[in-house]
Amino acid sequence: MAVMTKTEAKKFMGMDDRMIDILDFLKNKGVLNEENHRKILLGGYFRLVEYLEKEKVITGSQATAAQKNGFDDLIGALQ
């Protein structure tokens, strides 16, 4: 599911530290609510990927790649 424009993706790709910005972005887009934003922040990046797959924001194969390769792949999948 495309939740991010190319320009937005480019901005995130250029960041040194992405977690809070991406979680805030997904909350603003309505993908995350306050509660799961908090849970994922506490739990780590892999919890974000698990959540996005469960909510069908990304596919199973995208999730597998994102778990293996990190934000670079996840940002690609969110475009």
Binding site: D16, D17, R18, I20, L42, G43, Q67, G70
Partner: protein, 654 residues
């Protein structure tokens, strides 16, 4: 009840009153144990403006629900107090076997308050608790007092927590020990116990720890022990102890040569773990239930100090009164100095860091032999450093000034900002021997924001940066970015620090050794929750567990905020901000690096939900963590801090 003993012991040394207080289900669930219990008591029972040596100031000694169980490396004990060194929140933890004994005696926590009229020690024999005379123990080294108490009580198998002569003399960085050599080294809790005239706590426990699901617990523990058999970090720690870091630090440019003037030295191998093992290692020692056995026992075999034996040293124990003071030629002098700080009962980091600062003041002409009482402070002068250690412990002459710690000593000598430039501290506590310009920017950030001042590898524990690369894929799993493995970069570091601080706080609630959970990553959060639940029979989720860590971190932060310590104090020594790492030796990889604090600090605040103008936790965050009382405490202080922020300089300590 499973896991916990379910009660804490409160001892008032002023009136001799001893009480046992039950710990409710809600309380245990909210704070878990160890550091959690202690931080709660210190916050609520030792007001921030109270003198740390006031009789009513508390010392809390906490263990966790796993203490005394079969879970790996559950021998840690957390000791907490308002720090006489920093004036702020203080705690430190130690290994050994005493913690398990406290659990077997039936307690999860011991709170000491009041002041005895004369030196005493506490004798806990299960539910029988007695305050005994310690006049004959006063002035003794922990190893001497330990033996004397065992003989007096007629039991060689008891375990004892003790302070040394430095604690009795209220040196501001005196330690608390147990099993003679295992030190809760930082923040000066030994001096607080000394101010109460309490020499130690001898303990015999004949009880046990009830495990809710013993079969599952054994399965988990066996699986974890199997992991350790092949764990890469365990191997290094077992073979060489934490001295295994010497050659790594030297290779990567974070070796604190001459008070961090340089990051490497060609002769660092003189004191490496490899050299130590080959030359002076007598045997290895493990703490309670530990599959790693990183502890060393050293025997000096030749030279001036031949025949000396002691437990240790650790990297952070050996480096400060060694290379940090320019001593590296003769490793025996380094081992000897480490033995001395142990016997006197002092934090080697603050002791060596303060001496190193004094040597640099002398080098730069800020002090002369007039201030030092005739001592010529020069780098590498083994005799002078050795003499200063003794003078500090006894508070003699110039040593009495240095016994205040680096920042207070700078003020007592009237050295102003120039003097503080060479005190390598944050919030009044000397940083360990880890230069963030080489070890990593995550470490540097954690030094800036640590809730006990200049933190070390056993506290904020930004080890994803140090050992993350040895666990391929780990930083991707947790942070989403494998590039965070690289130390001298800001990539992923604010989130790494936030994540690790929370994890370390929960690890300290369980009183599990962080060498299993953070240095080594053989035990991860899901494993911790599994063995916590198997032990207690409760149903902690990972999220609830991690939230306890966040709660503790914010509570400790609020303690500092109540002392008007916030964003102004969230910094690192100016040397790291201003001085590019010089060329040391050929293989140094971080030449030219300075530490980019500002690039990371504001992002870190966003993770924490702390106000960037004050550095105070937001009301929303505190309420979400169940800290409504803390939100109320901070409310009037927020505007006060803001109104002062323009005119006030940072506080060196509180």
């Amino acid at each position: 009840m499973y896991g916990w003993a379910g009660q804490r012991l409160r001892v008032n040394l002023s009136n001799g009153k001893i009480t046992k207080e039950p710990l409710s289900y809600e309380y245990r669930r909210k704070w878990i144990g160890g550091r959690g219990f202690n931080s709660e008591v210190i916050y609520n029972e030792t007001p921030p403006n109270m003198d740390p040596y006031d009789p009513e100031a508390r010392v809390c000694i906490g263990i966790g629900p796993l203490s005394g169980s079969a879970a790996p490396s559950t021998g840690r004990v957390t000791v907490s107090a308002k720090s006489p060194l920093t004036g702020g929140f203080g705690d430190s933890n130690m290994g050994g076997h005493w913690g398990a004994e406290v659990k077997y005696a039936g307690y999860d926590q011991i709170i000491i308050q009041g002041r005895s009229a004369k030196p005493v020690y506490l004798w806990i024999d299960d539910d029988k608790v007695e305050i005994r005379d310690a006049g004959h123990l006063w002035g003794k080294y922990p190893r001497e007092a330990d033996q004397m108490i065992k003989e007096e009580l007629g039991d060689e198998d008891i375990h004892i927590m003790l302070i040394g002569p430095a604690g009795e003399n209220m040196v501001r960085f005196a330690c608390t020990f147990n099993d003679v050599w295992r030190a809760a080294g930082r923040t000066g809790t030994g001096g607080v116990l000394g101010s109460k005239n309490l020499k130690g706590i001898a303990t015999r426990g004949s009880g046990t720890v009830k495990i809710a699901d013993p079969k599952k617990m054994m399965e988990i523990c066996n699986e974890l022990r199997q992991k350790f058999k092949t764990d890469v970090m365990k191997e290094g720690l077992y073979e060489y102890g934490s001295l295994c870091l010497i050659n790594v630090a030297n290779r990567d440019g974070w070796f604190p040569w001459k008070n961090f003037q340089e990051g490497a030295h060609p002769k660092a191998d003189n004191m490496s773990g490899e050299t130590h093992s080959r030359t002076v290692l007598k045997h290895r020692e493990g703490c309670y239930a530990c599959p790693i056995c990183c502890g060393r026992f050293t025997q000096i075999k030749d030279g001036e100090w031949a025949g000396e034996e002691f437990g240790g040293p650790e990297y952070e124990h050996a480096v400060p009164t060694g290379p940090r003071c320019g001593i590296l030629e003769d490793a025996n002098a380094i081992w000897h100095n480490a033995r001395l700080t142990n016997d006197y009962g002092m934090d080697g980091i603050e002791c060596g860091g303060t001496i190193a600062a004094a040597i640099e003041w002398y080098e730069k002409g800020l002090i002369t032999t007039k201030e030092t009482g005739g001592l010529e402070l020069e780098w590498g002068n083994e005799a002078v450093v050795e003499k200063l250690i003794r003078m500090i412990a006894k508070r003699e002459g110039f040593g009495d000034i240095l016994a205040e710690g680096a920042d207070r000593a700078a003020d007592r000598l009237g050295l102003g900002d120039k003097g503080h430039y060479y005190t390598i501290t944050t919030r009044g506590m000397t940083l360990p021997g880890d230069d963030p310009r080489g070890l990593g920017f995550g470490y540097g950030l954690s030094f800036a924001v640590g809730t006990r001042g200049g933190c070390d590898h056993l506290r904020s524990l930004c080890c994803l940066e140090l050992s993350g690369a040895l666990y391929p894929g780990l930083n991707t799993k947790l942070l989403g970015d494998e590039r965070a493995n690289r130390p001298v970069t800001t990539v992923g570091k604010p989130y790494m620090v936030y994540y690790e601080e929370n994890q370390k706080a929960t690890t300290d609630c369980l009183n599990v050794c962080c060498f299993t959970t953070h240095w080594s990553y053989a035990v991860q959060t899901e494993d911790q929750v599994n063995y916590l639940n198997a032990t207690t029979g409760l149903d902690f989720t990972e999220e609830e567990f991690q939230e306890v860590g966040e709660r503790i971190y914010n509570l400790e932060r609020a303690y500092w905020n109540r002392l008007m310590s916030g964003v102004r104090e969230d910094t690192v020594p100016e040397r790291f901000l201003n001085e590019p790492m010089p060329q040391g030796v050929d293989y140094q990889t971080n030449v030219g690096a300075t530490f980019p604090l500002n690039d990371m600090l504001l992002k870190y605040y966003r993770y924490r939900d702390w106000d960037p103008k004050t550095g105070f936790p937001s009301v929303k965050k505190l309420k979400a963590l169940g800290l409504e009382n803390v939100a109320k405490d901070l409310e009037p202080l927020r505007t006060k801090y803001l109104s002062e922020s323009e005119k006030k300089k940072k506080k060196w300590y509180c």
